[in-house]
Each structure stands twice: as structure tokens, then as C-alpha cells.
């Protein structure tokens, strides 16, 4: 089972869209895929038309076993074969505090996922923005971090902050960071310049970029992954080539 987390310190960068669309594409290629919506905003859960509710909330999951809930019990199948979801829950907004109370707080997500090792080939963790115990726990669980970056100076700064944070964490040594450009508007000179410049500074940038497109925004109306309703749209094709590139760059 390989675990990928989509993450950016900054919100609104196309993180959830990436998690939802890539998870859909992976499942369509035959990978048994689970998407865990860790963001209390519950956007991924909404896209899949699932109620944002986890019996027992985050606390129940952390308690686990007989007294609480196991992850296995709260998984919901989506409309797409091979793709399941752990829905978000409003209580996830306090997940940080709950993790703080739990023993070995940053190992908790990995521990919760372990029993599902044989059930899924791939797990996507859609993380909430900002650096918190939730995101740290996701970093520790993940094999790779997918970081959508809008090609602007401000976004570049958040990537820099993230990389600096990771550098200081010896136990995250094995974590592969895969940044890619998201919400790209080729009419904007700043975007084009940033896309030329940033990869020279961070060569780990993936070659595929995701365009800013109204098709992607319509995911909220359609309530399904983009490639499910507009498989040939430029953005859907971009996600497809992004997924191929991510697969090539995954460790192991």
C-alpha cells in the first residue's frame, strides 16, 4: 500500500481537486484506492456526494478498537468502482487537539491505516492547509507529498517554508516531495515567468502543470471527479499526464 498526501500550507491551490481527480484516475487503472478527506471543510466528501459524517468523529477513530471506531467501519464506497472514501467530519477541525492528547501523535494516521494494508494499493490523504499535527502525522504516514503550487511568488514562498520545515525533520528523510504547478493561467506573465524560474531552483518540480479551467470549478456542480464528466477536457488530460508522471516518480 502506497500513501500519497496532497498538501500545501496555503489553501485554495487545487489540492483537493488534485486528490479527487488523481484518486479517480488511479482507481480507473485498476488500483484499489482509498481517499481520506482530512480537511474539515469536507470538499472531497462533497464532490463524492457523501455525508460529511464519521460515526464517533475523530475522537472515535483515535480511540479505535472496542471503545471507538475503526477506519474500516467508516469507509464509504463512491460512485466509482475501486475508489472508496473516508469522509470528513466536522470534528476533524479539532483533530489537532485530539492528536495532541494521543500517544505518539504524529504516528497516529499510519497506525490507523495499517489494518487496511491488504485492502488498498493506494491511499490519498487530502490534508488541511497549514502546518499542524494533522499534516505532520500525514507526512509521517506518506511515501510522497504532492504539492500543488500556483506559479506566483507567494506560492513559491509557501513551498520554501514547507521544504525548510521538512529539512528540519530527520524522521521524514524518506518522504518524497513532488511539487507541480496548479491553476496555471498562461495569459499571465507572472505565471509564465515563475514556471520558467522555479524549477531551476527546485528541480523536483514535475513537468506537468494543471491549467486554471472552469471545467475544474464545475466539479462542485457536477459533484464528481473531472475526468468522470469531461474526460477529454484539457484539464482532465493534464491530470492524466500528471498521474503518469507521479507514478514514474513514486519511491519503490
Amino acid at each position: 500500500m502506497r500513501i500519497l498526501a496532497t498538501y500545501n500550507i496555503k489553501g485554495g491551490v487545487g489540492k483537493t481537486a488534485a486528490a479527487v481527480n488523481l484518486a479517480y484516475l488511479a482507481a480507473k487503472r485498476g488500483e484499489r484506492t482509498l481517499l481520506w478527506d482530512l480537511d474539515p471543510q469536507a470538499a472531497a466528501t462533497y464532490y463524492f456526494r457523501v455525508e460529511p459524517k464519521v460515526a464517533g468523529g475523530g475522537q472515535g477513530l483515535l480511540r479505535g478498537g472496542k471503545k471507538g471506531t475503526t477506519l474500516d467501519e467508516v469507509i464509504k464506497g463512491t460512485d466509482f468502482p475501486g475508489l472508496d472514501l473516508v469522509p470528513a467530519d466536522f470534528s476533524f477541525r479539532n483533530f489537532d487537539l485530539m492528536l495532541d492528547d494521543a500517544k505518539g501523535s504524529t504516528k497516529q494516521l499510519r497506525k490507523l491505516l495499517r489494518p487496511l494494508e491488504d485492502d488498498y494499493d493506494l491511499v490519498f490523504l487530502d490534508c488541511p492547509p497549514s502546518i499542524s499535527l494533522v499534516s505532520e502525522s500525514a507526512f509521517r504516514a506518506a511515501n510522497a507529498l504532492l504539492v500543488p503550487v500556483i506559479p506566483t511568488t507567494l506560492s513559491a514562498r509557501t513551498l520554501e517554508q514547507l521544504l525548510e520545515f521538512l529539512e528540519g525533520q530527520a524522521r521524514l528523510d524518506g518522504l518524497k516531495v513532488l511539487p507541480f504547478f496548479s491553476m496555471v493561467d498562461r495569459r499571465k506573465r507572472l505565471h509564465l515567468e515563475s514556471m520558467a524560474e522555479l524549477p531551476t531552483r527546485w528541480p523536483q518540480f514535475l513537468k506537468t502543470s494543471i491549467p486554471y479551467a472552469s471545467d475544474v470549478e464545475r466539479m462542485g456542480v457536477q459533484r464528481m471527479p473531472l475526468p468522470a464528466y469531461a474526460p477529454l477536457s484539457p484539464a482532465a488530460l493534464a491530470y492524466q499526464s500528471l498521474w503518469a508522471e507521479v507514478c514514474e516518480n513514486l519511491p519503490g
Partner: protein
Amino acid sequence: MEYLIPDGLATEALEREIQEHLFCRVESAGDSEIIYYDTFDWALYSDGGFLTQRGDMLRWTSRRDGTACSQQLEAEPELVRDLPAGPVRARLPSGAENRRLLPMMRIQTKTRLLRMLDENEKTVVRLLLQSHSFEDPLSGRAGSLAARLRLEGVRGYDKERELLRALIEGKLGLGESEGPLLGEALRMVGRVPGDYSSKLDLRLDGAQRADVVTKQILSTLLVTLEANIQGAIANWDSEFLHDLRVATRRTRSALSQIKAVFPEDVVGRFKGEFAWVQQVTGPVRDLDVYLLAFDDYQASLPPELRSKLEPLRDFLLAHYEREQARLAEALQSESFKTLLGSWRDFLQRPVPSSSVVPSAMQPIKAVADGRIRSMAKRVRAEGRAIRDDSHPEELHELRKRCKNLRYLMEFFRSLYPAAQIKPLIKQLKVLLDHLGAYQDLAVQAHHLEDMAEQMQAEGRATPATLLAMGALVGGMLQRQQAARDGFAEVFAAFDDAEHWAQYRALFWTLEADKSSR
């Protein structure tokens, strides 16, 4: 869960009825085709799995618990060993490496998908109304199968699934379908999965007349032989020819070893004709053996010589096409068809009510005892006569004797307690393998020397290649010598007093024979 839609109930009517009860969205999921693959001898099925192709995805499914894995298919599957590495490839049995994956059945399905929705219009259960037709690629036969209703639950929505299940089983009164589509489709063409095996599995009646039972044995061998003709002609993989040759060899062995059950002129004629089959199928089999062992040949050489052996592979492949064409011609020839036709006629003809052929009317068990006894004694006597300086021909003769003994025990194994005859056959195989290695290495080394000369004459071999072939021959002769040196020890295990006592207990059934040594 899958339910059979009874004959006479139109799927459209069923669909309307379901929609009356449930909030559903109907989607025509369209047509699909699934191809079931297996090796000719059902190696995958016997190993506990199904291999299917849908579009460009290859899927392996466990027969036991339904777990599955998939991998993308880049081209139509051919030999198991050529399938690209991936989760499916990893699940296929290693013993099937050299076999071709054949399409065993194609099933076309028309699907209407009904999605039961909740208030968010989220799918909570899927219902698939499916009508199926099949096509058997090997026989070309086609037809339709019973329509089915498939209930697919969505994880986390168990209540909704149970609700629908109650509707289907209660109100609609449908019964669960038995077994997978493949089984049903195969049944329609008179087959069952696993219906071919090159292994002899005869159930004989020891009290029956020897000529009747011998015909039963030979008929089984004829079925195996005929089953492999198409694959040997098309060269789907090397095992078709191998199985065809083994069935031929066993036929000849049965004809000569189950003595005095048929008139001599019949035996003489068919023995000669099957010898011709063995001869015309020999050259391709030899080339198969070399090509299958080629990687091992290379690996047996020092690393710097390995690549120098490649021209030999090219030489073998260059001859292969011509020899395969000759083989295909022989197997499609009138004389071969006539041979099989008259052989079948003979085997199907009822035995005469009385016969002057000495053993024809004896019970087969007495004949089997006598033949195995006599052959076992002969193996023991000839084996004991072999000294360190014996001529290689003597070991070759002993091998032939051992093979005949093995075939006799395999033909008649159902006449003896399985627990007692099985270890005897197993031990005999050890001796036979040893003698086989000794003989085959000598033949191959000799053949390679001939090929080296031929390659040189045709300008296909550089001195480096000839040196590499020389090293290969040297290695073979060394291993042959080792086999020769180890013979006494392997034979001693056969000649062991305790082991021999087991032979006596099983085959020396008459008092008179018990006293003979």
C-alpha cells in the same frame, strides 16, 4: 450476489418492476467482452485462479475467495513467460511458464445499469441486468446464456443493499445463480474446466478381459494425442508437441509391452506407423529442447563466453521454421489422418467373443502382474550387470527397459493400492531421470558437435562461437561423466532388498511366482 433471470421473464419487465419500488437511475452501461484465458492443460484453473481480459486490462481472480489483481495489457497474451512483470504475472504458476495463454471462452455481455440513489443522488447500490452470449474460440461454437441480475453493494451502505436483496429474493422471487459464467458457457459446448491433462488417469477393472482394457488404455492415449494435434501444427507452444509425442511413445510402449492381447499383424502394423509419427516429430522437439534450455546453456558458461553463444540460437531459430513446416505438413498429411482413422476404427471395434490370441481373454490384472514382474526382473538383472567399464549402449538399453516398466506401472496403477504403487513409480522415476540425464547429455553433446560443423560450413560461426560451443560440450560431457559415476548409487536404491520386497508384495501375486527370483 448474482441471480438467474428465469426463462420467459423479459429483462425489460424486470427493470420496470424494480423501478416501481426504488429510486433508481438507469444507465445503459453498454456492451462488454470478457475473455477467459488459460493454458491448454488448465494450469491456472488448477492452481486456483481465473485469468480474464476486459479491454486492455488483464485480471487474475482467486477461485477460492474472489480476491483479484490487475495489470495493463500491452499486447494479446502469448506465452506465460513473455507476459510483462506485474501483479497478475506474479500470480501465475511457475510451472506454466512455457505454455501459451489460450482464449478458452469469450463472453459478450449487454448491461443495463440501475443505480439506486440516496437523497444526495449518491449511488448506494448497483443493479446490473445482464444478458450474455458466448463464443468458444477453439471450436468456433457460439450461443446465448441465461440472463442474470447482479447486485453490487457499495461499501458503507449495507442497509440499502439488504433492502434491495429482500426485494429481489422476496417480491421478485429470483434465485441465486450457481457458479461463474465460464462454467455455464463451457457446459454448453460439452466441456468442463480442467478437462484436459496429459497425466494418465485411468480407472481400470482388474477382472475385465485384457484386450478390452488395453483398448481402453490406448483409446485414452489416442484422445490425448488428437487433442494436441491442432496446437502442435500451429505451434502454440512446445508442450503440444511434447504431449503428442509422449502419447505416441506410450501407445508404442503399450502395443509392445502388453503382450499377446491383439493379433500380431495388427500390433506390427501400428507399431511401425506410430514409429513414423515419433520420427517425423523428432527434429522440432530436439530444437525445442535446445531453445528451452538455451538460457541455462549460457548461464553454464563463464560470463565472457555467454554472448558468443548467440549465433547458435540464431542457427536453431533459422532451422526451426523449416522443421516446423515439415512437421505441420506431416501432421496434416493423408497418411497421418489415415493412420489415426484406422487406429480409431480398430480401438472402437468390439473385441471378438472368443480369441486365440493367448492373453486376450485373461483378466487384465493377471496380465499386468505378469508384465510388470517380468520387466522389473529384467531391469534388476540388466542394472546389476552394469560395471564401471560397461559400454554406454548398455545404460541406454537399461533406460528403455525402465521407461517400459514405468509406463506399465502408470497404465495399471489403478489396479493396485495407490499408497503402495506410488512410491515405487516415484523411485523408478529417480533412476529413469538419472539414466535420462546420462543419455540426453551424450546425445546433445554429439548433436552440438554436428551443429558446430554445420555452422562453420554455412559461415555462421566465428572461432569465438565455436570455442563457446566447445566449452558447452565440455561441460555437458563432464556432467555426463558425473551421471555415470553416480549410477551405481542410484541403482542400489532400486535394487535395495526392502524396496524389492515391495515389488514382490505388489506384483508376485501367485504362489508359483513368489518362489521365483
